[in-house]
Subunit: 196 residues, 2 copies
């Protein structure tokens, strides 16, 4: 039991975290159930009692990943805004930090959509939904700077970000974060040069 729907079970949590790590590093299809239960030190039936199927587990992992990503974004952006950046700059600084983090291999949601192929797969649907939510989040950040003009600029900035993620993954470097930031600023109405 648990008070706020959290906690659940230790074994379950270990499975999710292990699967998340392996799926991200090596790919969803490349990692088998046996591998997951071995590294999570869990019995196979424990996994199947909690998740029912690998597809179920994949979805659960994406849900977990979303929470984790949101937390990372919030705390890291906080760090940068505290040191004087506006929220858009802080976002791109966070992006760059992500690109440079050890084991970076792109966006789990894009990767899942690619690997699963089947676009009606629950995890694919979830990934697509995540991207729409993500776009809304960018829209909000852009609105803080561009006001009503954000509606026309935010979608483009979102494309810059998605492109930066993919490019960072394929070229194994974080330059694309800088390129995307410069372009984003160029797209915004000019009132640049920090007036704080």
């Amino acid at each position: 039991m648990n008070s706020a729907g959290t906690k659940k079970s230790a074994a379950r949590q270990r499975i999710i975290e292990t699967a998340e790590k392996l799926f991200y590093a090596e790919g969803i299809r490349a990692v088998g159930i046996d591998r997951i239960i071995a590294e999570a030190e869990v019995a196979k039936m424990t996994l199947y009692n909690h998740f029912g199927s690998k597809d179920d587990l994949i979805l659960a992992v994406l849900e977990y990943r979303e929470e984790q990503f949101d937390r990372f974004l919030e705390t890291t952006m906080q760090k940068f805004t505290n040191s004087g950046m506006d929220r858009l700059e802080a976002f791109f600084a966070t992006l760059k930090q992500w690109f440079e983090s050890k084991g970076f291999r792109g966006c789990s949601f894009i990767n899942a959509a690619v690997e699963l192929a089947e676009c009606e797969h629950p995890a694919s649907l979830f990934a697509a939904q995540h991207k729409r939510t993500f776009q809304s989040m960018i829209q909000e950040i852009v609105t803080e700077i561009a006001g009503s003009k954000a509606d026309s600029v935010a979608p483009a900035i979102t494309l810059l970000i998605e492109g930066a993620i993919v490019t960072a993954m394929m070229q194994r470097n974080s330059n694309s974060a800088d390129v995307a930031l410069e372009a984003a600023l160029a797209l915004l109405p000019k009132k640049r040069k920090k007036q704080k």
Copy 2:
């Protein structure tokens, strides 16, 4: 035998084309050798005589895909420039047409990099190289319009394009091509409004 390195063998070509189709539609890891030989109507040993391993075949498929993609780009852009567009507009019109084509499932090279995970895999290296070549191609197109300013703008436009591809795949619609074009034009030095 063949005069210009083309032709090779009918069976080999059938294998490549079949593999390309299946890999793109369902994913590299999801499609097995047995499936490919069945649909290509070829004996398993024929495949292994020509390719040695699945990894070899994957690489060969990407090489084929690159040729095919270049041809598609050239002929389709030609079509649009013939009807009065400049080369940049023609490129984005081509992009949109690609997004709307039946069975569109994103970029084979991104997909391969994602699925293979292993970044030292020959096919991953080839995919990364393809993306650098692609960026050069965009740079050239942008130079026709922006001259020396292209150096600073083309990388951003490339990000817009990569973002548009990924977004079109995940959301299953081609809007992102329009968004990317608008943003690309906004990034270019203003001399817009067709002076032909």
